[in-house]
Amino acid sequence: MHEKINEKISVITKYDRMKGTVMPIKLRWQGRDYIIEKLAYYHRIREGRNIHHIFYVSDGNMDFKLRLDSETLHWTLEETTDGTSN
């Protein structure tokens, strides 16, 4: 099942100064916490001077597409998928 969500969510991230990486480790959506196990892909999108960071993460049961707006620092859950057909 694939769903477009587009909701603001709470995210805890981990910054590793040695590797220079930022990784979302936990997100809260609709009152439930999801522990992120894997960062599957990351890329950036430029919209004018603003940069959006796109994280594709998985908690082991579901995949999430997250967007971090670098101007407002808001996190948005864009899509979820659990790998079954609609």
């Binding site: 694939h2 894997k38 599957a40 892909y41 890329h43 950036r44 999108i45 430029r46 919209e47 004018g48 001077r49 603003n50 796109i54 594709y56 998985s58 579901m62 995949d63 597409k65 998928t81 659990d82 790998g83 079954t84 057909s85 609609n86």
Partner: protein, 417 residues
């Protein structure tokens, strides 16, 4: 005298990401891996399949099928639409990796890159097969562990491309003068890149039914009878491993097209689409520092009929308004108003935007250009369509961003952004 097969070392490498759109989707969404997945233009039953995953291909699903046909072949197939920024990012990373190996790296499409090792052959101290394995590893490490590619190495770009298509997925094939005939003996004419069903029929007419027969055909037959042009000479050399495809064509036009999700004959709706296409085309035209003398509009109607017209204007067009005026002028010349399925706008006959002849009557031209540049600057800063023509008011993001098939000039825009 017959031209012998090129005996030079194979120094051209073709890298093809297997099922790129679908594999990238599986890379980003681990739960889609090992499952039949198709990436389609629309996820509705009549949407066109752009890329089936390696698993979906095993069910016989192919590019170009309808979604409903794919579902007939595999009822559990997962259908997704293209994640354009994701695929573009994969392409940019692939280009970045390949740039480390030679000075000549040419992207052939969003998922194909050619590396020509000829300029650096004196400094290569290892076999190209080792380099190919290293690139495969780097793709897995730097793009994603699910990404696979097929690599072909040959004396020219054609043979490298042929090599890359021999074993999919994850193949590595080298075509040399020694195994060239053996490789051709395993292929059909239609497997050769550039031979369509029509070309195949034409070759059949002259008794050429296999790639080996094609290879053994004399130059005179190909040039004077089969192709009746220089194309026959090109094929004669290409098949023997001589390079004739390393030509860079200059850009002659900028164009945008759009297949309407909701087909309509309503002129107001269509005008909005034309304006949006002109705005996108105009942005690219102005970014390149060009102005266009001509504009071309082509329309495919929902009864599969086609109409097109081009026109040269008396002044070069630079601003979106000028392009729109030209396009609308042509659009209004349609002989009859039918339901439109696809609309394409292109501008051609370019001149430098700085060399505009002053108009005797319209002295506002310079002002309009400055306003247009100011709007572009604002959109560069705050995002596309932040400042847009009034006609686009109320029009949501209904023109979907797409990736063009084939060797697209638009790839250049990716590296500059």
């Amino acid at each position: 005298m017959e031209l012998p097969i090129n005996r030079n070392k194979p120094l051209v490498m073709h890298i093809d990401l297997n099922s790129c759109f679908a594999t990238a989707m599986q890379q980003a969404n681990p739960h889609l891996r090992r499952k039949p997945l198709v990436v389609a233009a629309y996820d509705s039953p009549r949407g066109c399949v752009l890329a089936p995953s390696i698993e979906a291909k095993r069910f016989g699903i192919k590019t170009g099928m309808r979604v409903m046909e794919a579902k007939h072949l595999c009822k559990d197939v997962i259908v997704r639409t293209t994640d354009v920024p994701l695929v573009r990012d994969v392409h940019v990373r692939l280009k970045k990796i390949t740039k480390d190996y030679s000075t000549i790296v040419v992207p052939k499409s969003i998922d194909e890159v050619v590396i020509d090792f000829n300029p650096v052959q004196s400094v290569i101290r290892r076999p190209l097969s080792d380099i190919a394995c290293e690139i495969k590893e780097r793709i897995k490490r730097e793009i994603g562990e699910w990404m696979v590619c097929s690599v072909g190495i040959g004396m020219n770009r054609f043979l490298a491309k042929t090599g890359a298509s021999l074993h999919k997925p994850d193949g590595l094939d080298i075509i040399t003068y020694e195994n060239l005939r053996k490789v051709y003996s395993t292929l059909k004419l239609i497997d050769l890149c550039g031979i369509s069903h029509r070309f195949q029929a034409r070759l059949n007419t002259y008794g050429i039914f296999t790639p080996l027969q094609f290879l053994d055909s004399p130059l005179e037959l190909l040039k004077k009878q089969v192709f009746q042009s220089i194309v026959g000479f090109y094929w004669y050399r290409r098949l023997r491993g001589y390079e004739i495809d390393n030509v860079e064509f200059l850009r002659k036009s900028f164009g945008q097209d759009y297949a309407l999700g909701k087909q309509t004959a309503n002129p107001q709706e269509l005008s909005k689409i034309i304006m949006r296409l002109c705005e996108k085309m105009g942005r690219r035209l102005r970014n390149a520092g060009r102005a266009a003398n001509g504009i071309h509009v082509s329309i495919i109607y929902n009864d599969y009929t086609f109409w097109h017209r081009a026109r040269l204007m008396n002044q070069p067009m630079y601003t979106t308004q000028e392009l729109y005026r030209g396009a609308q002028l042509i659009f209004n010349q349609q002989p009859e108003r039918k339901i439109v399925a696809k609309i394409s706008i292109a501008c051609y006959d370019h001149v430098s935007s700085s060399k505009s002849q002053l108009s005797l009557f319209d002295n506002n031209e310079d002002k309009l250009r400055k306003v247009s540049d100011a709007i572009d600057t604002l959109n560069d800063k705050y995002g596309e369509f932040v400042v847009a023509p009034g006609l686009l008011l109320g029009m949501d993001n209904s023109i979907i961003d797409r990736i063009a098939f084939g060797a697209v000039k638009e790839l250049e825009d990716l590296y500059t952004n």
